[in-house]
Amino acid sequence: MEKEVQKENTSESIYLRYIKRRAGLLKKDIRRHKTSYLFILPYCLLFTVFILAPVLVSIGLSFTYFNVLETPRFVGWQNYVDLFFADEVFLTAVKNTFLFAVITGPIGYFMALFIAWMINDIRNKKIRAFMTLLFYAPTISGQAYIVWKYIFSSDTYGFANAWLMKLGITYSPHLWFEDQKYIVPILIIVVLWMSMGTGFLSFIAGLQNVDQSLYEAGYMDGVKNRFQELWYITLPSMKPQLMFGAVMTITSSFAIHDQLAALAGFPSVNYAAHTVVSHLVDYGSIRFEMGYASAIATLLFIVMIVCNKVIQALLRKVGQ
């Protein structure tokens, strides 16, 4: 059919007829899949009202000045121009966000995958369940990361300070969350501690889904060691979970803020732990400049989409 059109599409009427025919086919296709649409309808309705609409409104607001009380005033690209040329703190925030995302994202992802892989090998069911719990517990435990505030407390009652002093390495307590030198490394440790969860759990479930007969077949085909087995058999069979884990890692590592604010204060000393989302919360919830905050969110959104595209393309190469 396509060839037919290419040959004769000089004639307008034939082209029109082609479009009509395509539309007819599409209609038939849609009618044939009536049940499919019925199945997705409830979710799509909720999604449109509670997720899609707010996102679109926010993107629209990013081109306005909106202080929540007055009606939004259209300002064009002004917010974006200001972000890049008039806002030094934003550039610091971008730098910090990339620092956190580039370090905690990949390390967290591979650590989660590696540990899930090792745990999956444990034969004893009870130990396996316990290990799974151990690695997921920090993610599920809500506010428990506050305990790090106690470990890295700035007085002598904190563990880190007390031990360093007892061992004679330092003589006075370090101000862990007040000294720019220490803030970022400590926060990276805490973030790694609590952000493995979501990807980790889906990897565990995915690993258990891998068809065992594939391994035997693989060894017949010349798979030599555990790592070849991982690369050629295990990972390709859990690609959907790898993609899920990657998206969750991107969303959490670029949107880092809550834990940082709870530990290092908000705003942190000299903006050392100020991320893009911190900046957004600052303008959105404290200064009530929603237009500006929306512009920040939209930019972050675009960066995350691009990053996701790149990673999905890389993941497609797994097992080749």
């Binding site: 849609i30 997720i51 002093m165 479930a205």
Partner: protein
């Protein structure tokens, strides 16, 4: 053998890194005040006391509305939110994974992309939508948006892709309706996925403060009430530690329950191509 010892060593080391802070959190909740502030600090508790938990109960008794009301609110929201989310999301994930209907790629792309938009900014549009629907100060404003979360759908769709087509085709030839294929074949074979989903959703809703949309004291949630206790700062250091432990016990229990079921199904189910 060497490789084995190596991996066990890594697991133990990493496990200690993950587990010790939580053990410390539990220990802290049992420490009397004089042990919380001591030099040098001790990791384990020497004279365990239930005083911190007792303090919470005392504070609870003085609360404005009966404390059981906060617990009821959170349990109610968590229960309906999780069940609704699981049902709606699975229903939508099945055609997205297994039917080739026009528009499915666009819909799926939209859902995954929306995952990446910062929730901090959509607060205002969301508020306007809630007030437009008349749902402010109503359980619905907390339950329904939780049902619409894209992450669960993404997870279910990824797992349903792995269900062999031949299985579905066979059922279709036997004359099964799409709904019964969904409930009898697809859902049982992705049990690990929806048990995982329950964990995610439960944990989100259990920690939901929801103070954006809820004003009436008798509709407020447990995390909100408990955060009021720990808001008093250092004077309630002990009670704060106890609050953290209380908040993490229930999700961890649910996790253990779901996780043991996941492992069991994987052993017993023979659904493979």
């Amino acid at each position: 053998m060497v490789g084995n010892a190596f991996s066990i060593a890594i697991l133990i080391l990493m496990g200690a890194f993950m587990g010790l802070p939580l053990v410390l959190a539990v220990c802290n909740s049992l420490k009397p005040l004089e042990e919380l502030f001591i030099f040098p600090p001790r990791f384990f508790v020497r004279n365990p006391t239930g005083k911190n938990f007792h303090d919470i109960f005392v504070l609870m008794r003085e609360s404005w509305v009966p404390f059981s009301r906060y617990i009821f609110n959170t349990v109610f929201i968590t229960l309906f939110g999780t069940v609704g989310h699981l049902f709606v999301v699975s229903l939508c994930a099945y055609p997205l994974a297994k039917h080739k209907f026009p528009g499915r790629n666009v819909i799926f792309w939209l859902i995954v992309t929306a995952l990446m938009f910062s929730a901090h900014v959509t607060a205002i549009p969301n508020y306007l939508i809630m007030s437009g629907l008349g749902w402010l100060d109503n359980y619905l404003s907390l339950i329904v948006p939780a049902i619409a979360k894209p992450m669960g759908l993404f997870l279910m769709k990824q797992f349903m892709e792995q269900v062999p087509d031949s299985l579905i085709e066979a059922a279709r030839i036997d004359g099964a309706s799409e709904f019964s294929i969904f409930t009898r074949i697809v859902m049982p074979s992705v049990k690990p996925a929806w048990l995982t989903l329950i964990i995610f959703c439960f944990q989100d809703l259990w920690n939901l403060q929801g103070s954006n949309y809820i004003y009436s004291e008798n509709l407020k949630t447990l995390p909100y009430a408990l955060s009021q206790i720990s808001a008093a700062g250092i004077s309630r250091a002990g009670a704060t530690a106890a609050v953290a432990v209380i908040m993490m016990i229930i999700p961890i229990t649910i996790f253990i329950f779901c996780q043991s079921n996941i492992i069991e199904t994987m052993v017993s189910s023979g659904i493979k191509e």
